[in-house]
Symmetry: D3
């Protein structure tokens, strides 16, 4: 049956906000390389960086009815995550839905499908990560579900999970793992700040990470250009 789940527990807002600052690449690393969508989704404009609780929606191909249903479930700080039940580049989302989403305080949209009105969305500051830009219209005939687990661009997203999106892509963190992810991301940032300074000063990664010794051990040969190969 098709269902709308109301009021799922959500990741805490301050945790989400703190993780937005860390960014997708850092959080993905801090999580041990997990949760990253497959790089098929791209932002419609550069520089957006959001993090919030997922409101999930599963939709029929080229049918945007359930997005309207999902918008009603959105609260301030949420990110709408949409997955069609079969691959589809149709333009499900445009300026009017963005107005509605923004009026509820939602932060943006992640969808494995197409998006339209990209200039207007850019002006409105409603960021979207989509698989395509397409003005192709939708119908409104087929039911599906809201706030059920969905798979979006290769990642499983539960309602209330933390979603972080910036120019590097989109990463998902299970709700209960968000605090730990924040701690580890901050620890990583601190460590990277030290590393960055050393690299900027000309020190090499091979030495900083202690990877020079293993090179010889594994048999890497170093030879001046033109020298005989012996």
């Amino acid at each position: 049956v098709n269902v709308v789940i109301t009021n799922p527990p959500r990741v805490a807002r301050q945790t989400a906000e703190a993780l937005a600052a860390c960014g997708v690449a850092t959080v993905h690393e801090a999580r041990g390389h997990g949760g990253l969508m497959q790089a098929v989704l791209r932002p419609i404009y550069s520089g957006a960086k959001i993090a919030g609780a997922a409101v999930t929606v599963s939709v029929a191909p080229a049918d945007n009815w359930m997005i309207h249903v999902a918008v009603e479930q959105c609260q301030a700080g949420d990110i709408l995550v949409m997955a069609p039940t079969s691959p589809c580049d149709t333009g499900y989302f445009g300026e009017l839905l963005a107005s509605s989403l923004a009026s509820r305080g939602a932060l943006g949209l992640v969808l494995e499908a197409g998006c339209r009105d990209v200039v207007k969305l850019t002006k409105m500051g409603v960021p979207v990560w989509s698989k395509a830009v397409s003005a192709q219209g939708t119908v409104g005939e087929t039911l599906d579900s809201v706030n059920v687990p969905v798979i979006c661009d290769g990642q499983l997203v539960h309602p209330g999970d933390l979603v972080i999106a910036d120019d590097d892509g989109v990463v998902v963190v299970p709700r209960l793992a968000a605090e730990t992810a924040l701690d580890r991301s901050r620890a990583r940032e601190d460590k990277e700040a030290v590393t960055r300074k050393r690299l900027q000063a000309g020190k090499l990664g091979l030495d900083i990470y202690g990877k020079r010794e293993k090179l010889a051990e594994k048999g890497l040969v170093c030879r001046a250009f033109g020298a005989p190969t012996a």
Copy 2:
């Protein structure tokens, strides 16, 4: 035989200009979802928005001879629409051809192939919707035709048809349907302006479009998170 058709009847310029303001997504909807290219073509820079009469050109793969022939057929307000006879990403069009096109008052280029000199074209303000950015050069050996019907990115374009292109893509409107398309697009804009205000005020699409009742009718279940499924 290969042919150049001169002076095909063109969509009226004021109609084209009025429709440019409406944009691709609106016109596509106003036309009942018809005429949209398949989202393979992307603008080389953001923010361009043009509408004009198509001058069409069919070209051999990697051969730009006929573009030179087509430029001669261009007038102020025209948009050149180019389709290769087999799939090809070669860079057919660059700064010099753009200079020539601009000197005739043409507005831009839509081509199911590659484009180069994109920084220069951006500075010149000659917008191009292309399938690829490629510096790959062409030859000039094989004849083809100008101002014959072509299929570009999945849409049939007749010379003189109205072409509208912006960041959402490219839509084609048959010449004789342009006036009606303008009327319907304006009606749609008026209606959307009302809807937009209501959405911004927090009213939901489900209620505005009267789609809430059908949800229950079709069997959608609403359930609080954690509630028993009965």
Copy 3:
């Protein structure tokens, strides 16, 4: 065996700088249509334009160990060119490696794989031409080689070769052909400057390039719209 070749002869720096100004499209034409990568690589931001000597690195899929080794071989004016041994979109390169690359005076990176931290790289002004934007992390387990010939996006690159990259793509010029390429590119620019003026003045390419006569010879028919086909 895996090897690092040190100090390969490099294309002269002033030659590289002069060719950067010519740009990819011009150099590719001046070289007789050779050396262009296949348009799969795209710049992470618009407007960058670099030319320098290639430091090449072959890497295992999703393994960035050898980039650290390659950075040590980079000098001021170099461009790092990276090719994985099998197709891979993983995000090999980000802000920390960019800091290291920049500290050595290298100009940028060309890689047939993924790149991350694109906003930071844009702010730092470290241009990258990549196949994908991906935050996906790498491991550091498998050796490969530095400054050996690699094939990147369909072109063979030797260490020390001239690499030119801008918004139109990436072109490779063998080290010993760089001087000639510069001469021919300048000659081409001079010729194009004249052509550009004529085109801007409304003269047509058909006449400038003397291609009008051949049209009739090859059998092109010119016919007014609606005229009988005879």
Copy 4:
């Protein structure tokens, strides 16, 4: 409005049958390189070779209602040609529809979308040229039209046009051009039979087609391996 056009004039059946024997590659050449679909569609099994009159159907994405409508318009010797209004790989067509199509004497299906039950269709001998194999189901909610012009894989198809499909792809010939296409295809076959024998006997294409002289004229250099470049 959505419309079903009944009884369009069809290409003569004996013409179609004669052209099936010629095959796609020959007819495409005989037509001067026109009418070929873009090689996105592939047969679900090898060795099928059909030619017949097109019954065309435009469908909404992931909605197969109109195929049922189109089947009713099919007669013996027809080929159903289906194009979705936006790109879609859903499995529109399977064994049950194939049973229905076969019961009317139709020869097969060409669709720019997905197909399922491929093993059963192979056993039934109902050939299909599709963009994808997919079991993904469809809905039946949205009207569209039958026997209107459609664009399928880059080619315009009118109802009644001749469609030829084999392992090389699909080619479309306008109804009124079919007789001429047959004459030219047969002439081409006769000529190729002569050429084939000469080639099999070791004579070279360069000599048969008289293209050897132009090589030197255009400046081709012939040099033994290792000889100085002069």
Copy 5:
């Protein structure tokens, strides 16, 4: 942490065998259109049709170490399901691993990556559904997990879940839903047998499914070719 889960509960073998006979398309429909992989995976040879319990394995890109670990967890009737942690077409699986898999009675392999030795696998009768055919070798350096939930080609697979694969693709059924899926698939087959006979007898789907009345209701117009549009 990386983990191997031993002896997860598995779908009953006789249920799996019964569902193999139903095939992917029928089970997918019987499940209400759920569980179907995205059609990116294709069988390496035609005609294979298997169903069994999933043994799942997550692997690093281009690293096949964990497949060896996973094979040890396989029992008679199992199907190995492999997902790389980032997109990768490398040839993870060939004849030697197939020998090992077969010696344990496993039925085949589903992997969102590449496969090699396809001729030998065909002769051995070890069916594989893969994203690519590639001889590209792997390394064995990085740990990952066995019998944890994985996402393969867009579907979530838990260890012990039912996997069905044939020429139409791959469908996943949660372990506890397998019995119901079997009942519904059989009911569907019975119903389709009746429908098939009626279709073969020339009855139309429009009538069988009662969809003719709605056509007029929704406004479909029927018109003889050449008749005035009124």
Copy 6:
């Protein structure tokens, strides 16, 4: 300048024949994972397995003139390797050229482009590895070169190099490395024969390759389903 190099030194025929029996996957492994094309090229029919000396040809997009020139350079046991100068799926090669190639004793064709007449080629037993099947015709206007180094599907091929092609893909071995590749491939086959028997007898790869110990060392945890995570 465009050039035809005649009589390049070729890999010895008996070496090639011996390596054909080893197959692409074994030779690729024996070479340390080098020389494999990128899996974009697929055989037009299953089961072909050839190895021979490369005759290389570079061609303009959609222009097959130089293939005719290259055929003249082919001898018994050669394999023609064709690379277009820019990406192109056009059907360069069909039955007539195949007749000519076969009359010279050449074994087959590897081309990063399209091929047609696939049913006829299959009947003739002329195997082709191509990027696409397309009936799209070519022109014959532009010169290029024969027996110069070309890059085909990501690999550098010199004339006279050993090319091996089977259902797993295409691998290139430099002429002077062919003998060593044969020795190593045979050694690998001997070793694999022993391994195969052990695997068939139920022994596991983890034990045969001694990779079980490292699992625990790297921290892999083994846990029965449902057991507490501690």
